[in-house]
């Protein structure tokens, strides 16, 4: 038998995980897992439809000798309600870490988000990994992201044998990405808060996949921000993506939140993310760049041009 390491990848239906699986395939034995649907995979990649916090998940660990886990799968706010999301994300991650211990997994990569830092008017720019995670201060809806992190942190220090690496990327965009920001920028008409255009960072999904691969192959446990050294105000990004701007009143702060709930913008401009369209969360990713010798290959313009072209295409198809 080959001595290939076996890697379990969660969130396999998503664009990022698909790319990671593509890169792993051949060099490693890959197992694909998703809670949304059973993913069609290449020959030789077992694929499972399973919820992480449910019974069936352990069977996968029992059946395959898993060496490493790349935990990308996350339930977004627009997919289920808050309780289901909490169960899937927090309890699911806890389960994943416990099973990893039980079955002798020796490496876990966790895909987190920059949302954990929270968007506040008092944020300094170039936030380091040591900054407090203030997201839950602002809204209950981000509690799950912060708790996944604190869980992973506890395991990181308590169980060094798990070799946990936590990655906190900025906005990841690109073909097939279904997070809030990507859904937003794919729309023709996009809400912007009057008088606010915070600086933002964007990363191409392919660069993020390469970052995940480096973190996996170099195995240097710890917590890392992942972002490019390039910055653009939100409203300019909206224009660059070929969107028209829909200005909505920004004060009092409750007003844009009510507008978002009333118009059911949960999938792309949810009430609890409004502060991220108002105040900046700019990451310092020096540690990641230096530790893993990583540099994004795609520019901001490369990222935005995908969304621009999609819109042009839609126009020519529907005259």
């Amino acid at each position: 038998m080959s001595a290939k390491r076996t890697v379990l990848v969660t969130g396999a239906a998503g664009s990022l995980a698909k790319r990671v699986i593509g890169k792993l395939h051949g060099r490693y034995q890959v197992i694909a897992v998703d809670f949304r649907r059973k993913v069609d995979t290449d020959a030789g990649i077992p694929s499972y439809l399973v919820e992480l916090h449910k019974r069936g998940f352990e069977d996968i660990f029992a059946e395959h000798r898993i060496d490493a886990v790349i935990h990308i799968g996350r339930m977004f706010a627009h997919e289920k309600d808050r309780l289901q999301r909490y169960n899937a994300n927090v309890l699911g991650t806890k389960r994943l870490l416990d099973l990893s211990r039980k079955y002798g997994v020796n490496q876990v990569i966790i895909h987190s988000t920059y949302f954990v830092y929270g968007a506040s008017a008092y944020n300094p720019a170039l936030i380091d990994e040591e900054a407090p995670l203030k997201a839950s201060e602002v809204t209950q809806d981000l509690v799950d992201s912060v708790e996944v992190e604190s869980l992973a942190n506890i395991y990181l220090w308590k169980h060094p044998d798990l070799n946990i690496t936590i990655l906190r990327p900025c906005n990841v965009l690109g073909p097939g990405v279904r997070n809030s920001m990507s859904i937003l920028l794919a729309r023709p008409l996009v809400p912007v808060l009057i008088g606010f255009s915070p600086m933002m960072q964007f990363l191409h999904v392919e660069d993020m996949a390469e970052g995940l691969m480096l973190a996996f192959e170099k195995n240097k446990p710890g917590i890392y921000n992942v972002a490019p050294e390039d910055y653009v105000p939100y409203q300019q990004a909206v224009e660059e993506c070929g969107c028209r701007k829909l200005p909505i009143p920004s004060i009092p702060p409750a007003l844009p939140r009510s507008i978002s709930s009333a118009l059911n913008w949960n999938a792309f401009f949810p009430p609890y993310l409004i502060n991220y369209f108002k105040y900046p969360v700019i990451l310092d990713a020096k540690l990641f760049r230096q530790t893993f010798d990583w540099k994004p290959k795609r520019s901001l313009n490369d990222i935005f041009s995908y969304y621009r072209k999609q819109k042009l295409l839609a126009k020519t198809v529907r005259p």
């Binding site: 600086m199 910055y231 653009v232 105040y279 310092d284």
Partner: protein, 277 residues
Amino acid sequence: MLRLDQLHLRERALAYLVTPEIEHLVASIPKPVGSFGYDPWGYNEDRFKVALGFCKLLYDKYFRVTAHGLENIPAQGRLLIIGNHSGQLPMDGLMVGVAAATNPGGPRLVRAMIERFFPTVPWLGNYLNALGGVIGDPLNCSKMLEMDEAIIVFPEGVRGSGKLYKDRYKLQRFGNGFMHLAMNHKAPIVPVGIVGCEETMPAVANLAPLARLLGIPYVPVVPSLLPLPARVYLNFGKPMHFEHAGSEAEVTERVEEVKTELRHLIDLGLKERTRIY
């Protein structure tokens, strides 16, 4: 009929403010920006040019600034400019900014610390960021010094800018934060004595209860809501270098050293000044 847009008012105003001289100065400022012309804090070269063009007019025509010792500002590398604060509105910071940005020995972008409530005000927050302002967080200062930027700090803070006219040119209590920054990041300190800004907005009283009610640092009683055209004198001192200190008492001693130098520079300006307005 004459249409407003035919007058090209915007273009004319821009051409008037952003002179070739300003273009040249901004182009020679050592300041890296990203692919869309922004830095991490939202500084934007194009907006900075327009503001510099306007402030240069204030500098030359309104406050008629006389600056000495500009050669003490290094053309590149991290730097803390430490000044005395006065005049209710931050005209002193603006004038030092213009002096540094138009320095014939090598123009510099000077980053200023803005009040923490500004980012919550629509447009204003983003606009001040575009001009190089950042909220006064020690982390911001550290990151900027590491990126070899120049920062202006008024260690008196609102104690200085909000003081009454009867206390003019009396240095208020200094915080020690700037000295820690200078030592930790091995950044030289260039002191600047600012004379004239006290007279731009002489306050006879401070309506402290009203200020508390509004959640702002002070509400001065002033003869004019616009700054008066006082002549401004800037005296930049020689760069001061400080090694790591053993104790906080030693840090305070060094802060006193900077204060003494500042007093001397302020006195130079006061002696030079023959008329206030």
